[in-house]
Subunit: 176 residues, 2 copies
């Protein structure tokens, strides 16, 4: 039952993906215009590369992918584009405390996401944590301040029972 539901969601997602990306691309162009920034081929290549990923990617990953689309893209431009993409909320930054940051396309921005970082397989899983909405409000009310961002992260080992099972437990059982 849970299986069929997630299958349904997956199908729905793939069905919508193409138009979603296309919409997002237009949103990006509009965002650039609204900020007085220029629509360059490099920025579009970087955007397309970012939306080509279904999971997390680093600045270096993005450079590599963007260069497949437009080989003139430089590392500096990627680093200069990332804050723009983040501000437009078309991608979001996922900082898990490593020496480099991860990013992720905000394809279906729904509820707040928490990260589960596996110490064994080096993967990052995004899980829904809707109660964080409530937590933000609580903090805001209690302390009288305006919440800007929230971060909830869990580091864990993914094979608590059988050592040799390798990784991949978390994503199959959880929602991701």
């Amino acid at each position: 039952m849970s299986e069929s539901l997630s299958q349904f969601c997956l199908n729905k997602k793939m069905q919508c993906q193409q138009t979603d990306v296309s919409n997002a691309r237009d949103t990006f162009k509009e965002f650039l215009n609204s900020k007085g920034l220029r629509v360059t081929t490099q920025r579009l290549a970087i955007f397309d590369a970012a939306y080509g990923y279904n999971d997390h990617f680093t600045a270096e990953d993005l450079l590599e992918s963007a260069r497949l689309i437009d080989d003139s893209v430089s590392r500096a431009t990627v680093y200069r584009a990332l804050p723009i993409l983040t501000q437009s909320s078309l991608i979001r930054e996922v900082d898990v405390g490593r020496d480099y940051k991860f990013y992720m396309a905000n394809k279906n921005a729904t509820t707040f996401k928490a990260q589960v970082i596996c110490l064994d397989c080096d993967k990052i899983f995004e899980i829904d944590a809707p109660f964080m909405e409530w937590y933000g409000k609580t903090v805001a009310d209690k302390l009288g301040l305006e919440v800007v961002t929230q971060r909830l992260q869990v580091t864990a080992h993914c094979q608590s029972d059988s050592k040799s099972m390798g990784c991949g437990n978390a994503p199959s059982r959880g929602n991701h």
Copy 2:
């Protein structure tokens, strides 16, 4: 009333502080011995410097303070001592996603702490978030993995009403 209560706690804290630190110092020595590591004057100076702080400090802060105790302490030794202190859980790392990490003496390790990072005054406030204990268990049960660490952070502006009030609202109203 709230004033006198916090005053009482403060007195109590200062009263206990000395023996607490002394205990922790012994714990540190024992930890070093148990790991086959040597008790050096530099390591003790770094420990003392760390426990001289009542709030967060950086590696650079720690170097400066440790040098007041023992001027032979080098930056490298501080960086080499920090993982040891962290592993002994006498101090804990507080990574808020800046390019440098913060640390904090674990003087009264009680419940789980969340961080509220003020974007205006650049301060980090530690607040109790006991429900995180429950959250860890939930994640562990649902996804079948063994939780190692949890992190909950909120970035916020601390003057939502009056712009000119400056900072300092959060700590006076909250618990810290």
